[in-house]
Symmetry: C2
Subunit: 231 residues, 2 copies
């Protein structure tokens, strides 16, 4: 089901599709009744609603009222479609550029973190696709650019800026979808865990609170760097 990119020519084709490069355009033959964008939109809708496991080429084609193999005339394969879907939804991030470039650094990074979190909560499949490290498209690059601007002008070196953006993104990816309650019966022999579980289940430990806690700690630590950038 993963279906990575294998053939090297498909990589170039994916790059061209990501940037919506116009085809060679020796205009002749039947003109297409379908384009990349409707395919990607339908696929994103399906993945949002039912998850990546339900996203089969046949299902996507069915949603479009088209034969399964028709998709392969527009997209090299499933792996490339996933990469296109990822870049498409990444375009939703930071719709207002000023929210991540105005205010002090802490407000900016706070906005970056929250935007990425709601993004991953809306499109949980995006995390799985990112894990395959698809090539960056225009929207991924735009996101990288904007998040770098959020940490620009603070007296940090360029590698520090990159690390900081990577750090915040990584924290978000790690923070979504965490925490399952252990079976309260089997806590014998785990005294500290038993104590913590007993104390937290009464307080309704929710991932939201855990995220807020982690973000606070992270921004505090980043603040110590910004005050003294000498590593």
């Amino acid at each position: 089901m993963s279906t990575e990119i294998h053939r090297s020519g498909d990589r170039d084709r994916l790059e061209a599709l990501l940037w919506r490069a116009a085809p060679v355009s020796g205009r002749t033959g039947a003109r297409p009744a379908l384009g990349i964008d409707p395919i990607v939109v339908a696929a994103v809708r399906l993945a949002d609603a039912e998850g990546l496991a339900a996203l089969s080429m046949r299902r996507v084609a069915g949603e479009l009222g088209v034969g399964a193999m028709t998709l392969y005339g527009h997209v090299p394969g499933r792996g490339e479609l996933l990469a296109l879907m990822l870049d498409a939804v990444l375009g939703e991030l930071h719709p207002d550029e000023r929210s991540v470039t105005s205010g002090n650094w802490r407000a900016r990074l706070d906005a970056v973190a929250r935007a990425n979190r709601t993004f991953l909560l809306r499109h949980p499949w995006a995390a799985q696709v990112t894990a395959d490290r698809p090539p960056m498209g225009p929207n991924a690059l735009r996101k990288y650019e904007l998040e770098l601007r959020a940490v620009d002008g603070l007296g940090l070196s360029e590698p520090q800026m990159d690390h900081l953006v990577t750090l915040v993104d990584g924290f978000i990816r790690g923070s979504v979808g965490r925490g399952q309650a252990p079976p309260a019966g089997a806590l014998a022999g785990f005294p500290t865990a038993a104590r913590v579980v007993a104390a937290t289940t009464s307080v309704r430990e929710d991932p939201e609170r855990s995220f807020e806690f982690g973000l606070e700690r992270l921004l505090d630590g980043i603040g110590m760097l910004i005050v003294n950038p000498g590593r």
Copy 2:
């Protein structure tokens, strides 16, 4: 390929398998030539070597010199096998309990973070399995217990302790497998990204350095909490 747990009875069966509960044991009939442990060991070896996508029931059975359907006499299905594999490899973590319970808090959390990182680098598939939130087995619970002890006795509340462990684990999960170089050609219109890419490609931005940077910031931020636990 994901193959989650569907039937509710399988959940109970998985729980029993995780804790290696002895079967009902009305001893009669042929005694098994195969057990859960060899299956899990073979599956882990296969996943380590070729990734989760190559882990099919038929492949695992083949490695054991056994028919494919034989596995279903020991394990309810693929999803449950993944959960068993995860708990099995989690047993590798913190082999020396003192490494995460001795020294000052920073050394302890440093040890926790590095152990989890090398663990995820050795078993990249574990991150994917964790994303499905399988039930915690004995080794997952042991890991939770030990990591809680690393932040015990610091004057923190129990929810704070839980959040801290979740934060470090999440940071690790987010930090492994990050960073792909953008196609250097298409950086027009992204001045900050262009500047950073130009500065970092010459320094060979490696994920190792990014991890060290993030861990330092994270521990700094946690230190501020420990100095003043009043939230």
